[in-house]
Amino acid sequence: MAVLQEALPVQDVSFWIRLKNNRNALGFLFMLPAAVMLLVFLTYPLGLGIWLGLTDWKIGRDGVFIGLDNYLWLFDDAVFLLSVFNTFLYTVVASLVKFAVGLWLAMLLNNNLPFKAFLRAIVLLPFIVPTVLSALAFWWIYDSQDSVISWILIEMGLRETTIDFLGDPNNARASVIAANIWRGVPFVAITLLAGLQTISPSLYEAATIDGASEWQRFRFITFPLLTPIIAVVMTFSVLFTFTDFQLIWVMTRGGPINATHLMATLSYQRAIIGGALGEGAAIATAMIPFLLGAILFSYFGLQRRKWQQGGTDD
């Protein structure tokens, strides 16, 4: 005969057992390691950087709080304003081209091609190669005496002199943007490809039956369904491009005459090489509003369909 067990009174259950069974507490404990990592390696440096931007800290000498003085000086600084312009130009042009080429590549790769897997791996290569290595390779390609592009054009008789890729300010900007596009397209392409593959083919079939053209299929099916993926990938792409450092530093160090200085490279030059930590931190912190703006734009602007946020279709 089964003996009914009396329910244990609550206070007899140990705290530890209750904690283990409490989903909220458990969730918190699981998140703790990641939260600690983020706090130590992200939040603390970010907070310290913002604080440094409000001081006149120098390497080797402690600084004092000076409020917004660094920022006021920077607004008067022609080189800083030039770096802001460069950063915007670099980010906007590179991101637009990366998006266009990436989307086109993704649509091509979505078709049934021979050696599909191999092609996709090749496409991903520029992104995987360490940035410094590809920057060095571009440095040689853009060299003002030894460029392979110049050599080919001269051998073919199309030019008489070498191209001054990195010496002329506009050429330099175009060259670094080209290098950045080469590097960044795979990320956009592969991510958009993944997004394309989630679009059900039955939608396309239905559209074809209804007589939709290629362009109409793209405009009414592909693009709307892709917008959440586009939002994510372009946010990342814009973030990475805006804060790009390695490509510029290896190829031009910000030259010629500051024409390719981005805010990140200028911050490094002023803070670490020049010793003015406070000012460099201010330059770096000045990037935050623009990055926040980019994130908010992609969040609100590109994800406005209800179903993308968990609601139902209208």
Binding site: K58, I59, G60, R61, W73, D76, D77, A78, V79, Y142, D143, S144, Q145, D146, T161, T162, D164, F165, L166, G167, D168, P169, A172, T252, R253, G254, G255, P256, I257, N258, Q269, R270, I272, I273, G274, G275, A276
Partner: protein
């Protein structure tokens, strides 16, 4: 200043790996004798870490390592020598100063000791010992090293940066050698360009070569960044005159110089793409080492021409040694630095550097390395001819930050490339410099 060919990179890294230089027995014997009488006895159980800039001339790195090794064998103090590329060395040493831990001694660049003088131990006793023993220090060496009456660093070596030129090209342009005044120098450059042997000077953010020649241009015309009271005087007629000279000179350069960092002119010269540039002795040393006789035999070095100011106004690079306060073994550090500047070791280091490094102590003026090869002759006078980058103001944060921000290099590049008129370039540079000298 660095030569970036694949072959050179592979060779130098292999050389460093294999050629872990060992001191000769004679040196060790001398070291032991020296250690007995040395004014600074290393502490018991001392260990030292020395951080240096990565050597540009292989034999110099080996000679230096051998001298350090002899010290270790004589005194029993292990010394670990770390090398960093010179662009990375400065931030690393600054961070070590800032946090109070890291290497004990840093063989650094320019006047960095003046960026954190409170973090360094005083070296007056070492300086006085060496100065008394070796006929005294050159004035510039003393200027770079002192804060008030105290020495905060030892000016271990200077590195000369002079005009490198191809003899045949210069003679074809109608001059026996590089002229000694700036007007004729402009004519030379114009003729070189006409003959298809153009010259070229680095106008990118080249912290070595770029700074050396642009400061010479500025100073030789009587211009300067600050006056004796640290007031910025870039917006002056002399500076504008210098920039007008540069805008003419810039037209004679080989295309692409605005993108040249420190290694590009070495590469271009060794490829015969440029027949005149400014550099240390490393181009010549590389040409000799690689067996490029058609260049090594056809090239020579010359002083920078003198401008309307009438005297030599050149900028050469100092490589001082400094010891941090956080070191646990200050006596050992002082003993090591003193040892390295004593005759036998310093002679060996100078010999190994084949002219790349110059002496700040007068007694070393007769070193054979200068007479062995007449092409090294101009480098002997490096320390006589250099003036500090803060000319004519004081060394400190403002000077160092302005220097690191390439204000002079950018100003000259703008004028040379015709991007701005000389007056605009000078006015904009004045504004930029004033931001640093406000403190």
């Amino acid at each position: 200043m660095n030569k970036f060919t694949r072959r050179n990179v592979l060779k130098s890294s292999a050389g460093v790996a294999l050629g872990a230089a060992v001191a000769s027995p004679a040196m060790i014997y001398a070291a032991r004798a020296w250690a007995q009488d040395a004014p600074w006895k290393p502490e018991k159980g001392a260990e030292l870490r020395l951080l240096r800039w990565k050597r540009f001339v292989q034999s110099e790195g080996e000679a230096f390592a051998a001298a350090v090794d002899a010290f270790t064998k004589a005194t029993g103090v292990p010394v670990r020598v770390d090398s960093e590329g010179f662009e990375d060395l400065r931030p690393k040493s600054a961070v070590a100063a800032s946090i109070g831990s890291g290497p004990d001694i840093v063989w650094t660049i320019h006047a960095d000791p003046h960026l954190y003088p409170d973090k360094l131990i005083e070296m007056t006793d070492v300086a006085e010992y060496l100065g008394d023993k070796y006929d005294g220090w050159y004035p510039i060496a003393e200027f770079y090293s002192k804060r008030g009456d105290q020495w905060i660093s030892i000016p271990f070596v200077f590195s000369g940066n002079f005009i490198n030129y191809r003899i045949a090209a210069v003679q074809k342009a109608g001059f026996e050698t590089v002229p000694d005044n700036t007007d004729d120098f402009l004519k030379l450059m114009q003729n070189l360009q006409k003959n298809g042997d153009p010259g070229g000077f680095a106008l990118g953010n080249a912290s070595g070569d770029g700074n050396c020649w642009t400061h010479w241009i500025l100073w030789s015309h009587g211009g300067k960044m600050v006056d004796d009271d640290d007031q910025v005087v870039l917006n002056s007629p002399e500076v504008v005159a210098a920039l007008e000279y540069v805008s003419e000179l810039g037209k004679t350069f080989v295309p692409g110089v605005a993108s040249w960092l420190d290694g590009h002119n070495n590469k271009a010269f060794l490829q015969s793409a440029v027949s005149l540039t400014n550099n240390g002795i490393s181009i010549y040393a590389a040409a000799q080492r690689e067996g490029m006789t058609e260049i090594a035999d056809d090239m020579d070095h010359a002083y920078y021409p003198v401008g309307p100011g009438g005297r030599a106004m050149e900028f050469h690079v100092q490589f001082p040694m400094m010891v941090y306060k956080h070191t646990k073994y200050p006596n050992a550090a002082k003993a090591l630095i003193t040892w390295l500047m004593e005759k036998d070791q310093y002679d060996a280091i100078m010999q190994g550097s084949v002219g790349y490094l110059s002496h700040p102590l007068k007694a070393y003026n007769d070193h054979p390395v200068w007479d062995e090869d007449p092409k090294r002759k101009v480098f002997k006078d490096t320390v006589h001819r250099t003036i500090p980058y803060s000319y004519s103001g004081s060394l400190g944060y403002a000077a160092s930050s302005a220097f690191a921000d390439f204000i002079v290099v950018n100003m000259v590049a703008e004028a040379a490339g015709g991007v701005k008129t000389p007056k605009e370039a000078a006015a904009d540079a004045q504004k930029r410099a004033e931001r640093y000298y406000r403190i």
